[in-house]
């Protein structure tokens, strides 16, 4: 049960039940982009309200479910747009309620006007994810699917979208389901020996049990490994730009953003506050934190700035430690950084290589924030720091949700315990304790919690019964 509450809290549920009478509206496609925008309306009044502003061949109020109607949206006697209206009646809609999808030509202004016309008719703006919550609560999707949709809503970049959609399509669900199936098969073999000892059956030798457990653990490990990637895809990467004053941190920020966002000057100590900007690269969202150069200073404001730089370092996934090729490697600062954060998160970078060619300092990458030289290698290095060297395809099953990650880890622990029991020569009923726990951990991911699967499997596969 906790699992439900981890995505939909008790409070939200209560609110939902109180609010489920409401009809809600929101833009269903990303704002501002694309040739067509879709506005979604859901709730008991949705059909009635759309009917009141729609002018077409027939009336929406008489329309059957899953029908599409062409016509005009009129508001205050003004034609706002030509639209397509799709009608879905409960329970056969995305949310399980009566709902309508309006496809318009997509200008921001038009969308704005249509939504406003709804708001005047006792329809309220949907909360983020509210359609999905309704869908889930009305039994229209399983847990993993619902979570994936929530991820889509929260996701910022393309890869994240693709990842989340994959999950929605059930790639992770299917994978976990197949692991669970494997587990149920092994459990059945053990149970067979316990409940049908009298029967003339061949029982699974213990080495085979271990083999099967190992197979499943390997698969779980593969899934666990994708989490770093999945998390990056979901949450993005925090990159702190740090270094001594004047090494070119702000220049690098500007270069990456392709705009002159931060003030750059030859005066050391130019940047005082932390500047936060985002840019996306190969579908990964990087959050850049340009910081004040770190040095001992009496200036009160700069002091505070340095203090904040250290904070940014602590919260970073990657620390881009910038050095000036002229001044050389800032060893003292490096030592300090290592105390704040794990060494493997630090990317040692040397800047201004346009000034001193063929000079080599030991580091991960060399760049020039002025000419752009080496930026490609910097990109590569940043990506690798964030997600490791494995090459994941977003088409495979990816774990991007902490709850799923933890459930998989728990499943693995149980399997390891089960294996130990086998190795210690324990009989089947002891091994079964952990196999069952593992099965239920996997079941938590996909919201499956049946207890009869093992017996059903036995009855189907084995000739038993005296």
């Amino acid at each position: 049960m906790q699992l439900i509450f981890s995505i939909i809290t008790q409070k939200e549920l209560t609110e939902y039940l109180q609010n489920s009478e409401d009809t809600i509206v929101a833009l269903a496609t990303p704002a501002g982009v694309g040739a067509i925008s879709v506005i979604r309306v859901s709730g008991p009044k949705s059909i009635e309200v759309v009917d009141s502003i729609f002018e077409g061949n027939g009336r929406i109020i008489n329309a059957k479910t899953h029908t599409i109607h062409y016509g005009k949206i009129k508001y205050a006697n003004e034609v706002i747009d030509d639209v397509l209206v799709s009608v879905f009646r409960e329970p056969n809609s995305y949310t399980g309620e009566d709902s309508i999808e309006i496809s318009t030509h997509g200008s921001q202004l038009i969308v704005q006007k249509i939504i406003e016309s709804f708001l005047e008719k006792d329809v309220r703006l949907a909360e983020p994810g509210e359609f999905t919550k309704r869908a889930f609560l009305n039994g229209r999707m399983d847990l993993a699917q619902a979570e994936a949709v929530v991820d889509i809503i929260n996701s910022r970049t393309e890869a994240s979208l693709r990842g989340a959609r994959n999950q929605l399509d059930g790639i992770l669900s299917a994978k976990v389901d197949s692991l669970r199936e494997m587990l149920i098969n092994s459990s059945s073999m053990l149970e067979l020996e316990l409940d049908f000892a009298e029967e003339d059956l061949e029982f699974l030798p213990k080495e085979k049990v271990i083999e099967r457990i190992d197979e499943i653990v390997i698969e779980i490990d593969e899934l666990l490994k994708t989490y770093a990637f999945g998390k990056v895809i979901r949450d993005g990467v925090n990159v702190a730009l740090v270094g001594k004053p004047n090494v070119g941190k702000s220049s690098l920020l500007n270069y990456l953003l392709k705009e002159s966002r931060a003030i750059v000057s030859e005066i050391p100590g130019t940047t005082r506050d932390v500047i936060r900007e985002e840019f996306s690269l190969d579908g990964i969202l990087f959050r850049l934190f340009d910081t004040a150069g770190i040095r001992l200073t009496e200036d009160v404001i700069e002091k505070e700035g340095v203090f904040r730089s250290r904070d940014a370092v602590k919260n970073a996934d990657v620390v881009l430690f910038l050095n000036d090729i002229i001044d050389g490697f800032a060893n003292d600062l490096y030592k300090e950084l290592k105390q704040l954060i794990k060494e493997d998160k630090i990317l040692i970078t040397v800047n201004k290589i346009d000034l001193l060619h063929d000079h080599i300092i030991e580091c991960d990458v060399q760049i020039s924030a002025k000419t752009g030289e080496g930026i490609e290698s910097l990109f590569k290095a940043m990506k690798q720091k964030a997600i490791g060297s494995e090459n994941y395809s977003e088409k495979g099953a990816i774990v991007s949700n902490l709850r799923h990650f933890n459930a998989l880890k728990k499943a693995k622990q149980h399997l390891v315990q089960a294996k130990e029991s086998v190795q210690n020569g324990m009989s089947g009923e002891f091994i079964a304790v952990d196999l069952r726990n593992a099965e239920s951990s996997l079941g938590e991911i996909i919201g499956k919690v049946t207890t009869d699967d093992i017996l059903n499997n036995i009855f189907a596969k084995f000739c038993i019964g005296k």
Partner: protein, 625 residues
């Protein structure tokens, strides 16, 4: 005529129900069609087996009679799964079919407050949705405050052998007519199930020379804690015999498939997948060349052999011809053919965890009528129904419901009510999520207190158990403290071929080693120093418990953690008056399921098949409001 309680049927469910209620002080009338058929074994002359043995121990620990009857009529006793851990050890016995019934009759006729009425109940009578009495075939009307129906396979029973169908609940016995219809009139739903039994052979006509013998245990163990061990076993012990079918047998059976009532669709009832007929086995597992057959004697002075594994409803001549092809049975004389029986059951979502029906107050169902199969399953339900009916008649406010973590009986009833089986339900150890805790050996520790509360377990029995409990706890504590130094114990360790120790280790830790047993370890202590250890060594039962709890501590702990987690959901009660249909946001299917089953706790609701976790969260929210 009036009785506080009427029990319909003197089968395994009926006798437990009648006995428990009578002992609790209510007047009981047992109406049964044949008074010489108390506790008659319709099928296999055996009690116990995996999970079923557990049920017998639990019935015994609650003050039921099945264990004692089985002990007195048993002609072969075995503990199954001896090579595995104690949680799956299961007692099983072959019974003398006739003596089993005789012993059951003895107990029933000697129990105060029980009156036996030989008749058939054809109608149950209600007033204002409360049961008030029954009408019988002989034209009597008997009134009562409560009624327990334990009709077994008799409600509109129909027996099939080949294309011949005969009305009856059991070979040579009439079916029960009318009762189902009167229940349907009250608003109940009825369904149809099927089960089968193998042919019987003449004892002397079998060639035992070439068969594998299966003797009982050398040191037979009784089921009942009340059985006098000095006299046990009461009867001479016999062996069973093993043989198997082969392709020549299968070929003959196949010849009869065109006259199989099963394959011809003449049987509407659903049969159990775990107990298929031989024709089912051949069809479903076509690649299996042989099927094992157990030849089981039906009794000491019976000349019948029960052909376990060969349940069938094929035509009689096909049965006869096929049997002659089985090794050892070449000259076997078939005394009676196997048959399938179809009967009415009442899908058990209609009962509560007390086995009282939701529709009619004072009406209880127990045994095969609830869709179970097996003597032990029936007896367990009979006991619970009897106790609850008596509590109600006596005006006591408490009810008797066992949790899944208390007993297999709890698992059984919870499954029945929540999953409302559509095939005959049999108990398996894998149905119990707390299997390691629900052992035969601790049935008294789990259940004596309940039995005592209802006057079915004596003060002395409870006292003995409680003293033992203290001894167990103290010993476990002590064994964490007492440590063996290497030089005190390494000799023993060496002789048991297990690793020697370098540093002192507590007794509790050493006990965990599979190679060591607690008694051997304790013998190495200076016993004069530890009077407690002396008492423990003198108390075999307590010693066994301490050893099990120490040896499997980690596993037991994990199951207990699980119980705690589940208990939280069990503790959230749903009021009886709760209207599940008003749950707006739940799918219609789960709404209907919930409405049908009317779960009494969130835990119970969460186990109903088809009710999803999100339904449960919504239910929770409604309950909070």
């Amino acid at each position: 005529m009036y009785f506080d309680l009427i029990v319909v049927g003197g089968g395994h469910a009926g006798i437990e129900a009648a006995h428990a209620a009578a002992k609790m002080g209510v007047s009981v009338g047992v109406v049964t069609m044949d008074k010489s058929a108390f506790g008659r074994m319709s099928c296999n002359p055996a009690i116990g087996g995996s999970a079923k043995g557990h049920l017998v121990h639990e019935i015994d620990a609650l003050g039921g009679i099945m264990g004692q009857i089985a002990d007195r009529s048993g002609i072969q006793f075995r503990i199954l799964n001896r090579s595995k851990g104690p949680a799956v050890w299961a007692g099983r016995c072959q019974s003398d079919r006739k003596l089993y019934s005789v012993e059951a009759s003895k107990i029933i006729s000697s129990t105060e407050n029980i009156t036996i009425v030989e008749d058939s109940v054809i109608e149950a009578i209600e007033e204002d949705r409360k049961i008030v009495g029954v009408r019988t075939l002989k034209g009597n009307e008997i009134s009562c405050k409560a009624l327990i129906v334990c009709s077994g396979t008799f409600l509109n029973g129909l027996m099939h052998t080949g294309l011949n169908a005969t009305k009856g609940g059991r070979f040579g016995e009439q079916p029960a007519i009318g009762l189902t219809e009167s229940l349907i009139k009250m608003g109940f739903e009825a369904g149809r199930l099927k089960t089968g039994t193998p042919p019987r052979l003449k004892l002397e006509s079998i060639n035992y020379e070439i068969l594998e013998e299966q003797p009982g245990d050398e040191n037979p163990q009784p089921f009942s804690r009340r059985t006098d061990r000095s006299k046990f076993p009461f009867l001479p012990q016999v062996s069973c015999w093993l043989t198997k079918t082969d392709s020549s047998v299968h070929q003959i059976l196949e010849k009869g498939f065109d006259r199989s009532p099963m394959f011809r669709g003449l049987i509407n009832g659903v049969g159990p997948r775990y107990c298929p007929s031989i024709e089912d086995k051949i069809v479903r597992f076509a690649d299996k060349p042989n099927h094992q057959i157990f030849l089981e004697p039906e009794g000491l002075d019976s000349d019948l052999i029960y052909v376990n594994g060969f349940s069938t409803s094929l035509p009689e001549e096909i049965q006869r011809e096929a049997i002659a092809k089985i090794p050892g049975l070449e000259n076997a004389e078939m005394v009676r053919p196997g048959y399938a029986v179809e009967y009415d059951y009442l899908p058990p979502y209609q009962i509560d965890l007390t086995l009282e029906t939701k529709l009619i107050k004072g009406l209880y169902f127990a045994g095969q009528i609830n869709g179970t199969s097996g003597y032990e399953e029936a007896a367990g339900q009979g006991l619970i129904a009897g106790i609850n009916a008596a509590l109600k008649i006596l005006g006591r406010k408490d009810e008797f419901v066992l949790k899944r973590s208390d007993a297999y009986i709890g698992v059984l009833i919870d499954d029945l009510v929540g999953k409302s089986t559509d095939e005959p339900y049999r108990m398996f150890t894998s149905r119990a999520e707390h299997r390691l805790l629900l052992r035969q050996d601790n049935a008294d520790r789990r259940l004596y207190e309940f039995g005592h509360r209802f006057g079915l377990i004596s003060d002395n029995e409870l006292k003995e158990m409680k003293e033992r409990e203290v001894l167990i706890t103290k010993s476990k504590d002590l064994f964490d403290e007492i440590k063996f130094k290497p030089d005190e114990i390494n000799n023993l360790l060496e002789s048991k071929a297990t690793n020697l120790i370098d540093n002192a280790e507590p007794v509790s830790k050493l006990t965990k080693r599979p190679e060591l047993n607690l008694r051997d370890l304790l013998q190495e202590l200076d016993l004069e120093k530890y009077p407690l250890v002396n008492s423990l060594l003198a108390n075999e039962k307590a010693l066994e418990q301490v050893e099990i709890e120490l040896k499997y501590e980690g596993y037991i702990q994990r199951q207990q953690d699980l119980i705690k987690k589940m208990e939280k959901l069990e503790e959230v009660k749903i009021p009886e008056s709760f209207d599940f249909l008003k749950l707006k946001t739940i799918s219609n299917e789960s709404k209907e399921k919930l409405h049908k089953v009317r779960p009494r706790s969130i835990g119970q609701a969460s186990r109903i098949s088809g009710v999803s976790p999100s339904d449960i969260s919504i239910l929770l929210v409604y309950l909070k409001n």
